[in-house]
Amino acid sequence: MKSGVYLCTCNNLLSERLDIARISKALSEVPDVAYVKTSAMICSEEGIAVLTKDILQEKPARIVFAGCSPRSHELVFHKVLEETGINPHLMQIANIREQVAWVTPERTAATRKALALIRAAVARVRHHHPIEKISVPVCADVMVVGAGPAGLSAAFTLAKAGRNVVLVEKSASPGGMPMRFDEIFPDRSCGPCLMQPLLDAILFDELPGTVELLTLSQVRSVRGSFGRYEITVEQLPRFVDNVRCIGCGECVIACPASAPSVFNFGLGKRKAIDFASPGALPHVPHIEEKACLRGRGASCSACRDACPVDGAIIFDDPVQIHQREVGAVVLATGASLLEISALQGLGQGKMPDVLTSPAFERMLANDGPVKGKIRTKSRRIPSRIAIVHCVGSLDEMHKPYCSAVCCRYALKYRAMIRERLPEAKIIHLVKEWCLPGQTAQRLYLQAGNDRNTKAFRYRSLSSLKITLSGNMKKLSFEDDAGKIHRVSVDMAVLCPAIVPKDEAAALAAAFGVRTDEFGFFNDEGVDACGNGAAGRGISTAGTCRAPVDISTAMEQGRAAAGRLLAELRQAATLVILPAGVQVDQARCSGCMLCIQLCPAQAIEQDRAGKKAVVRELLCTGCGICVASCPAGALHGGVFSSEALSAEMKGALEDRER
């Protein structure tokens, strides 16, 4: 198995430092060398043309290039080999410029070293075997988990690009958090209005790809890998037929049962059968089993009796299990807020008029439970309102990070309160201000111009106490100079830290996505090797990754879609050049150590669960598994142990001392 050796003098520069003639002569005496050809500049257009012609003529079994670093031209030479019909793995490059000529001043020593490295390459390349491209069948469809702004943006982008999307949403209706926000910073535009075009397009438009929306649904199990995931989704019953229901709402009026409204964060009630929200799309209600009298054994049928359409209400609607095959996934499951009712000294959940920000959002909403009227529980108009930022954020005891959006929405509250209550005194309590970008300052300056608004820095949550005193809430806190302040307010709005959802850990485990110390998804893979989950076709977008605002969440959704469109090309198969790492099944002892160590999660158990198998689509050829296998059952492709051993032999054989 002889090699054709191509020696480049780098425009004769190397000839100054190396005795090229001597190298050439010594190489032609090596048994494994078929021929040695010297060129002034192989990488030039002319040089490539000459090289191509030469290879076609000589048809060497292996090829060795000696010249500059493989980091310069490895891919160029790969291409030449492909064009001349030689498998690109059948070459090796000896670096005699950066790693010899430029670092070895003495000509004899440099020549000797160059010769050693070229001989090493010649010895090694004999152990390179052709590795053919393979076709892996894939599914171009994508699953998007979460139908909030990030998920909807991803789904829309994918569907517009012609991909079929399965959109899985846990709640009864898509849209996510913005559906609850009457106004959104910085322009105080309306949340449901912002989501409407996306929802319209996905629900009602004819997009190139189909979007299958599964509401009341959650992912239960994930099998397979990039290109071919098999995902099981559990869908809870709606008890209302999506197609037959005309959205008249007669059932809601007739329903005798009610429960606290989850959508309104406990503010106000919803009927057992009700729309998820006033502007919910599709405009179809659902029955909350726990609130429904039938759920408690009674035989109520008020809703069905009131319904003008036969068969729209289905009492025996079953739980459904859906199996979907997709090639890639976008996780856009959103985030939650720190539960602060247990926090000592804040009184949230115990005292009236101490609200968390989402409850305050629903109070402010014109379509909300109190139609946007800011009133205390005893129906008074508050004359002093405190807004406490950083509740649980920037706090060693809770979350050390900033939750990114609270200052901006708190300033939004100030503007909305001011509009509705011109005389109210507003106090912002802030640990740190966070106002990134061009538009946030505008809200801050408006607050600064409002003579009835003050801001204080408070030192820590532990020094903040809210107590009840008659009708008023007394707030005491230590400012950052250590001085104690006491203010009396009618209402306090607390802005809790943004935290991952309770189900995030289970989802991360199911999809094999790494999380950070706080539980946010953190696996995008920063390097080109694509070793993050995104390299395996699982992208993340929105607040499930980190606290971000709505526009950023939407951008991340589009970006996740874009990335998947590039990596999971629309085709029945993906053609790839594998790295060549394989398991010798005869030697594999089934210890599965390699599976744990693989950074790309490219190794899996075979169907019988007894041996390891490499998934060529994901393998990056790093070889960590090869070195770890106690049975020596893994073959390292072009970096096999035989190749490395031969390379060392070739390098050290030179006995001239």
Binding site: R71, N95, Q99, K113, A116, D527, P599, G621, C622, A651
Partner: protein, 139 residues
């Protein structure tokens, strides 16, 4: 042999990973940082590819010393191949002790793509140490 020690140029097999340390060695070339010519570089994709058996193989084939250079902790392109390599190195050192091979003949360190001068420094240090120890002779 007469005069052998005077002309002893140690030969070192240096396993460098494609992404960081190999690029670091290239960088040494780019900034013309010289180092002894006995340093023979073997490129691997990741330092985690290096098996202790390769190191012993190197000694058997005539290397006086072995270097394993990896990406700095936290930036391995294959997540933590460099940390796996480091753990293996620590075990390897114990094996070398038992085999009666001076542990200075095998070194492990971290080199990034912009640390050409540092790579050259590590190579020079290695050569100095090996010159003091003399050529390796295995029974």
């Amino acid at each position: 042999m007469k005069g052998k020690r005077k002309t002893f140029e140690p030969r070192v097999v240096a396993f460098l990973c494609q992404w960081c340390s190999y690029a670091g060695a290239d960088h040494a070339g780019m900034v013309r940082e010289e180092y002894p010519s006995g340093i023979l570089i073997v490129k691997v994709m990741c330092s985690g590819r290096v098996d202790p058996s390769h190191v012993l193989d190197a000694y058997r084939k005539g290397a006086d010393g072995v270097m394993i250079l990896a990406c700095h902790p936290g930036v391995c392109h294959y997540r933590s191949g460099n940390l796996i390599a480091m753990k293996r190195y620590r075990l390897l050192v114990r094996t070398l002790q038992q085999a009666g091979i001076a542990t200075e003949r095998c070194m492990f360190d971290f080199v990034s793509a912009t640390e050409g001068k540092r790579f050259a420094g590590l190579a020079k240090d290695m050569a100095v140490r090996l010159k003091r120890l003399g050529p390796l002779s295995l029974k």
